[in-house]
């Protein structure tokens, strides 16, 4: 295969060369353990501190409110379990949504088994929560509200500030999974009023296996990973200095170019969406038409299944993703697509194409050219299509 175009930036991103360059010295020159009393360690410490400052700056947080983790998943697990365990004297009720990432959802489910009570808010057809639902869900024993900033599958951006304001009025701790939003949207923890916020490096052209949790000063949490005194005794384990340094650089770069990045992505995103919906019948855009991540396109193609669509696209060098269960080996299609009201068949026929910094207009044109015949070929094979094709187009 010659051409290979990446349309799966929401899954992970290639690391930028500037990020790798920044990391290089920390692999085998400035490689010391930052807790050590010697030059090798001090240099590591300097890299660590500077990355922490950079990330704090992008979030308008204080440096000592940023704690490094091994990724978005750990940040989510830590945020939720940490708040739940540290505040269980105050109550045992948690509010979240039906469309969270599994890192949040499964953590909440695990807490339910331990005796916590969890309310999973519904979302509308665009994947948007209803703020009145949130208000109504709050009870005297609610200790935590965790609502994702932007959805990884359908890109919908939640009214996070409004939700956090509701939480604050009631004195409830508010966490947001901003793994998809970070680096793509302006996030100001003070303006938003969130208490905890999860981010991950590999979604913003940084290294895999590195994330962070913002914890507002004064927020009561417990540790998830116990051991050494790293991260002010709140997250143990020898620090992944090269990774953290890379994260810092990636964060800095993302926010240097945010406006240009966004403008470009939104243009390409809207072109791709419009053309595909026009060119191919029996399709629908999933997620909110405008309140969505700049790089997210998610379309359902009726009568066909997502994995076969992905495989066919892969054969022409287009790398996308799907909410079909068949891509994950599980039975049910994406819980997000089900939550916005799709039937199983439509959910299985969903395609997510996510755009990023290396996506070009030609790439978009290439998809617009290649996708319609592929959809058509698969529909011709589908027993579901024959039932309708007599009728319309």
């Amino acid at each position: 295969m010659s051409k290979q175009i990446y349309f799966d930036y929401a899954a992970t991103t290639p690391m930028k060369k500037e990020v790798l360059e920044e990391m290089m010295p920390y692999f085998n020159t400035e490689f010391g353990n930052p807790s050590s009393v010697h030059g090798f360690g001090r240099h590591g410490k300097t890299g660590l501190d500077s990355a922490r400052d950079k990330i704090a700056k992008t979030l308008n947080a204080k440096s000592d409110e940023i704690f490094f983790t091994a990724g978005g998943t750990e940040s989510d697990n830590w945020a939720i379990k940490g708040v739940a365990y540290a505040n269980k004297n105050k109550g045992n009720h948690i509010i979240t949504t039906k469309i969270e990432h599994h890192a949040v959802l499964y953590t909440c489910q695990a807490l339910e088994k331990e005796g916590f009570e969890v309310t999973y808010l519904d979302v509308d057809e665009y994947g948007m929560i209803n703020l009145d639902d949130l208000k109504n869900a709050i009870k005297d024993n609610t200790i935590l509200i965790t609502i994702m900033y932007a959805n990884n599958e359908i890109g919908t951006i939640q009214p996070t500030k409004e939700a956090a304001t509701i939480a604050k009025e009631k004195g409830i701790i508010f966490h947001t999974d901003a793994v998809q939003a970070y680096g793509n949207l302006t996030l100001d923890v003070n303006d938003l009023g969130v208490d905890l916020l999860s981010i991950s490096a590999h979604k913003i052209y940084g290294p895999k296996g590195v994330g962070a949790l913002y914890i507002r000063k004064g927020t009561k949490t417990k540790q998830l990973i116990l051991g050494g005194a790293q991260e002010k005794r709140r997250r143990a384990g020898t620090e992944n200095i090269p990774g953290i340094v890379g994260f810092g650089k990636a964060a800095e770069m993302a926010y240097e170019n945010l406006e240009a990045h966004n403008k470009k992505l939104i243009n390409l995103r809207d072109k791709l969406t419009k053309e595909l919906l026009e060119k191919i019948s029996y399709t629908r855009l999933n997620g909110h038409p405008t309140k969505r991540l700049p790089g997210n396109v998610n379309i359902s193609f009726n009568f066909i299944e997502g994995e076969s669509l992905l495989l066919s696209l892969d054969m022409v060098g287009i790398a996308g993703s799907s909410g079909s269960a068949c891509t994950s080996g599980s039975l049910d299609p994406s819980h997000v697509l089900m939550a916005i009201g799709l039937d199983h068949e439509t959910a299985h026929g969903s395609l997510r194409l996510t755009l990023g910094d290396f996506t070009t207009e030609e790439d978009i044109d290439y998809v617009i050219e290649k996708l319609p015949p592929i959809v058509d070929r698969l529909r011709q094979m589908s027993p579901l299509y024959e039932k309708v094709k007599g009728g319309n187009k």
Partner: protein
Amino acid sequence: MYSEKVMDHFMNPRNVGEIESAEAVGEVGNAKCGDIMKMYLQIDENDVITDVKFKTFGCGSAIATSSMATEMIKGKTVKEALKLSNKAVAEALDGLPPVKMHCSVLAEQAVKAAIFNYAKERDLYYEELEGFDPTEDGHDHGHEEE
């Protein structure tokens, strides 16, 4: 993740389509699980499957196993076709990933379901269909236990 044979049968599936006046038609699977296979068999007076077509809604291996299954039963007698096992289909494709083995089960069942309907209409008895239930979809997506 897929063998070359699977990819070949997925990209160039054999026997796609319908047979208008097929003697035997069977459909298994459901949209919930993301795969539906429909099989059409033309069967002559000697119980020989002279033609076979399929339509499948499903993943790459669902399409590939459908294609391979049709190839494997074409020209065979009904009794021989009933001996087609999912393992044989998977092996003929040089194997399937564990989570995709259910697709081969579905292909085996699509053949059986078609013949089941054929037998029912004609009041024929096939020992091989003993215990076969066309409504069971045999879905075991190979979940890992923790």
